[in-house]
Structures are given as C-alpha cells and as structure tokens.
Symmetry: C2
Subunit: 258 residues, 2 copies
C-alpha cells in the first residue's frame, strides 16, 4: 500500500505510529509540529520532510494523521486546506464529528496504549479502534490498521470515549499510584525496586482473572486495625492520606455489593 502519509503532530503517539507505518512501508512524506525539535527528530528517523509552519503542510498526502493535543486541534486545522483528502484524528476522547468541517473524508484511528518516546512497544498487540464517515473510508482505515496491529476493531465515538475513560483509570491513575508509592518509599529511604515484582504480578493477575477476584489487602477484608495504622503512617502526607481513605472505602463498598 504505497500511500502518502502526513503527520500533523510529533508527540509520543505520533512518533510511535509514524515509525510503525514507515516500517511497514507507508511513505510518510512530512511531519508537522510547532516544536522544531519534535518535528525534526521524528522526520529524520523515518526519512520524511518536516515543517513547523502550518502554511507549508503538504497538499500531496493521501492520508493525514492528526495527533495533536485535543485543545489545539481547531486552531491548527482551520488554517489548512485538506482538499477533502482523508484526515483522521487519533484521540480517544474526541468525537469523529470534531473534524467534520475540515474535509469530506474523515476518520478516527485510536491506538489504546500509553506511549513514551523512549520506549519501544509491540504494536501488533495494541488494540486499534477505527471509525469513519463512510464505509469506504472505514474499510481503508481498517486495512491500514491491519498492517500494524492484530487487534483492529470498529468502534463508534460514544463507546470510544468510554474506553478512554477506562484507560485513564487503568493506566494514568494506576501509574500515579506507582509515583505516590515511589515518593513515599523515597521519603523513608527504601528502594522502589522492591515493588517491581509486586507491580508485575498485580498487572499479570488482572489479565488472567477478573480483577475483582484478584483483590487482596486490608480494605477488601476491612481490616480496621491495619487501615487505621496505615492512616497513621501517612500523617505527614495529608493528601495521600485522604486518597487512602476514600479508595479504601471504595474497595470495601465495591466488595460488599457483590
């Protein structure tokens, strides 16, 4: 599929996706980012041109990936004439219709993963969710996605948003608790590395049994002595103490209900 692709945005998601499409021999002809460093780094890596000026975005691509921070999408897109080429955004949280005024051919290409520029990911295993404004565009985007992922689905905007909310819970919030644990251990001069096998096993369990079944710890048993002691251990960390309290209550209530 020798399609010409342009990336508008060069952040974490764009970097991984552009490199992956390049690998399976899409012709990524240009990368746009307002950050010269980001645009150049990605473009060099995949042999593309780059620009930092909206006016110089190519008219020659068959497919434009819009991988911008949701809040600046309009500000950038309203300056571009896409000549009704296929444009897709990569956001879990935006409806397809958000880009409908910019082209007659629109879609969504949403890979459900957390991307950091420094880390490699196995793209084949990443679920990719497709949506488009007509059957032809949908079929085409599914084909594109199939070249890089084994887990391609079509999903409408409403349900994609639900998935995005749950990704925040299962990834961003989870990672924040790792950070809070690391902070807390550091304050007591204990290595966060001790936590690695526990972190791994917690994630592995949730993929092999329902996480509800996997729940352990003082809150699910409502072991009041331990909970009180832990709150006491957190007395110098008032914000964390408050979170500890509300999440313990949430755990207990969830397990009482069933």
């Amino acid at each position: 599929m020798q399609k010409k692709v342009c990336f508008i945005g060069a952040g974490n998601l764009a970097t991984h996706l552009a490199r992956e499409l390049h690998k399976v021999s899409f012709d990524v002809i240009q990368v746009f980012s307002r950050s010269k460093e980001s645009a150049q780094t990605l473009a060099n890596r995949i042999g593309a041109n780059y620009t930092t000026s909206v006016e110089h975005i190519t008219k020659e691509a068959d497919l434009y990936f819009i991988a911008l921070k949701d809040s600046i999408i309009h500000e950038v897109l309203e300056k571009i004439d896409f000549r009704n080429k296929l444009i897709v955004h990569c956001s879990g949280s935006l409806s397809l219709s958000v880009i409908e005024s910019y082209s007659e051919n629109i879609g969504v290409f949403y890979p459900l993963q957390t991307f950091s520029k420094k880390r490699e990911v196995r793209y084949k295993e990443i679920p990719v969710f497709i949506e488009a404004n007509n059957v032809d565009n949908e079929r085409f985007l599914v084909q594109v996605a199939d070249t890089i992922s084994d887990k391609v689905s079509v999903l409408d905007s409403d349900r994609r948003k639900k998935l995005h909310v749950s990704a925040v819970l299962g990834c961003n919030f989870v990672n924040h608790f790792y950070t809070l644990a690391a902070d807390y251990l550091k304050a007591h001069d204990i290595s966060f590395e001790h936590m690695h096998p526990l972190i791994q096993e917690t994630a592995s369990k949730a993929q092999e049994m329902h996480p509800f079944e996997a729940q352990t710890g003082p809150a699910v048993r409502f072991d009041r002595n331990i909970i009180e002691d832990h709150l006491n251990q957190l007395k110098d960390f008032p914000e964390l103490k408050e979170l500890y309290n509300s999440i313990s209550r949430s755990i207990f209530e969830r397990h009482q209900k069933s």
Copy 2:
C-alpha cells in the same frame, strides 16, 4: 536443612509459602486453620497433617509460621504454648514485638507479593524481608528465606510498615482501578480484554523508568476539556466521578511541584 515447620494459617500467603518451603525440602509437619477446607487442601498438597483445633497444634516443630489475619493473631496465639521455639509472623503491617509474649525466639518473614491460591508465582523473584529478636534467629531466618528467594533483606518493623503502605498503593489500589475500569466497560458492553496490553505496558514502564517520568494522560497535561468531558461521562457513576476528580487533581499537583 531438615527443619520441621508448622503453619498456623492456611490462607493465600500460607499456601504459597508452605508449598515453596516443601519444594525445597523443608518438612512441613502440620497445618492449622480454623477452616477445615483450607487446612486440609494445603496439608494434602504438601503431605502434612492438619488440625482445626488450637489445642492440637504440634509441639514438635522447630519453626512456626503465623500467617493469620492480623486481627485474630492474639486470639489464636494466646492458646498455644510454643515452648520458646522460633515463631515468625508474615505480616507487613505488624511490629515484631506483637508476638514477643508468646516465645523468647521471634521473627518476621514478610514476602512482598500479592498471593491468590489459584496462581503460581515465581518465588525466587519475590523480595522477602526478615526481622528477628536476636542475631542467631535473624541469621537462621535469612538462611531459610535464601532457599526460596533471591531477594532477601533484613528490614526493621518501622520500615516494613512503610513498605506495606506502599504495597497497598501499588497493588491493592491499582487493582481496584482495574476493577472499576472493568465495571465501567461492562456497563457499556465493551470487553475488558481491550485493556490488557495497556495494563501490561503501564506496569512494564514503571519498572524501567521512574513512574513520574512515565505519567501520561489528560491530568498531567491538565487538559481541562477532556477532564470535564470524562466527568460528564461518569455522571451515572457518582462515586467513581468523585475519585476521578480527586486523583486528577493529585496527578496535576504532583507534576506541578516538580
């Protein structure tokens, strides 16, 4: 090391630890639990006797593992005459001194992991934290721990409690967010399996870079539009909505500070 071992308690932790000690050829002679099913299942598995009555706990063991719910430890132990044999508890949250009235030889043997009876774990990778009331007992317990784990440390009660608090954050709370995500997806008829690669990558990242560096998502960028939209997506889940709000604030504040 042909030492005779008795397990007081047959829950998740006891089950895994007893089986592991049995594997490296400790002689587990008896399992006590007030639940006949638990005692019998574990005892049968490792060729031990079992009892459900405190009075019949053996006097013949060299080492007693106390793996009971913290809240019932005293109620059980006060009925047993250990004849000053070495007794160790396996709790992250209890001080060593909690068992000092029951023997002159006491210790703590705390494996930092989440155990479910159904799942195998690689014990060699599990950090085990040892504490004892004298150097001989400490040395002996380190030797015992070394037979099953490659990650044995000596750690005092105060710092073990800190570790236990952080295990609650990095395991129990994390798993609860998996449960909340699964509940939320189920309510919208979306498979939780879509989340598996994201869950795995989130855990992998936190073991290879500092979780602070790994943080992604709307809260760290303070993307107010997405956060507002997500709160709206959660309007039928008021408790989850409240947690979403307070954790997003916590993420944002933590990343502002640095």
